[in-house]
Symmetry: C2
């Protein structure tokens, strides 16, 4: 099953992107098939042809996020940023813009689905996990690209996982307070940590 | 309206604690009034007498978390821990135990509701925010209790907010991967940050 943007049947794409938008804005449980049909301008026959169940649609949405991380998230965030550590903060900046554009109603779609769906079926949980791991892999690559700026003992996989933690926890609080402040605070403290790591790395290699 | 544990009508308490448990395990939207009546062994007449709407029940649950933070969360976590910085990590340890006891199906109930409920009514959002701020206030008090261990420039309010971020992001990933590893990684990196802060504080005050 292809989930590339622009590929495949245009009706399938309209349904997929309508579901992606609605699951992100309203949540999975609160989105009805009728909502998706209305937003996609599609008939139920087409929807059930491409996605026999609502969960099939959710799986396709999660595959779309997985496959779309580079073209949809990283490429725009990193367009004008060459420094690999600054790329990490530019990625966090993309989430800040999403919060700003929605008056802080935005939630990371993967994070929201991960907490909304209790006891998800294994294929759903696996695709949520794959999305998190993909994000961490790209952030880790940034940290590895200029490894010497971090102290020797720092594990870049752990630090990248922690950066995902900082993003998700910051988005959650900004959304709850309907204010950018908690997100900016979390990113600011993360920046302080990275600065201290860089300082400690310079102390190691005088 | 009193929400003290053990106070008030016993039927009301049974309904409230059944809702608290179900909202935490299944989510708010997925929990039906019938589920709550069954778990509480109560009749719908009693439920509607105490809680005219499902949202009234949600508000009472959030008030219970707000009022219960000291007796239900902090007191057990801090029973044998005097050092204020270690109390922060003991609090995080309480979340680890909740993950462990549920094979990592646990989600922080406030964090889960904050992401599950899209466009919450203002009183719900306010009580979610009050719960986050209460948690941050207690963690900040730990940091302030031994302020000299942190560098002068560190803002304890921001650091406490970041510690909530680390907990929420760590729980989210542990739950998604159904593994303690991501939680342990986030707490481990946070510990590294705090250790570096303590080292930098000693450098400031030789």
């Amino acid at each position: 099953m292809s989930t590339q943007v622009g590929s495949g049947d245009p009706t399938r794409s309209r349904i997929l992107f309508a579901a992606m938008d609605l699951f992100g804005r309203k949540g999975y449980q609160s989105t009805s098939i009728a909502d998706i049909l209305l937003a996609a301008g599609a008939h139920s026959g087409s929807l059930y042809h491409f996605f026999p169940t609502k969960q099939d649609l959710l799986l396709a949405v999660l595959e779309q996020y997985r496959d779309g991380i580079e073209p949809m998230l990283l490429a725009p965030a990193w367009k004008d940023v060459a420094d690999p550590i600054e790329r990490v903060f530019a990625l966090l900046g993309a989430y800040r813009r999403a919060l700003e554009l929605t008056d802080c109603a935005y939630g990371c779609p993967i994070g929201s689905l991960a907490l909304e769906i209790h006891e998800p079926d294994p294929p759903v949980r696996e695709l949520l996990a794959v999305n998190f791991l993909g994000w961490v892999k790209h952030v880790r690559a940034c940290l590895e690209a200029d490894r010497g700026r971090l102290p020797r003992g720092v594990d870049t996989e752990s630090l990248a996982t922690f950066i995902l933690t900082a993003m998700e926890g910051g988005v959650m609080q900004a959304r709850t307070h309907r204010s950018l402040a908690a997100f900016d605070t979390s990113v600011g403290v993360l920046r302080d940590y990275v600065t201290r790591l860089e300082t400690d790395a310079r102390r190691e290699r005088p």
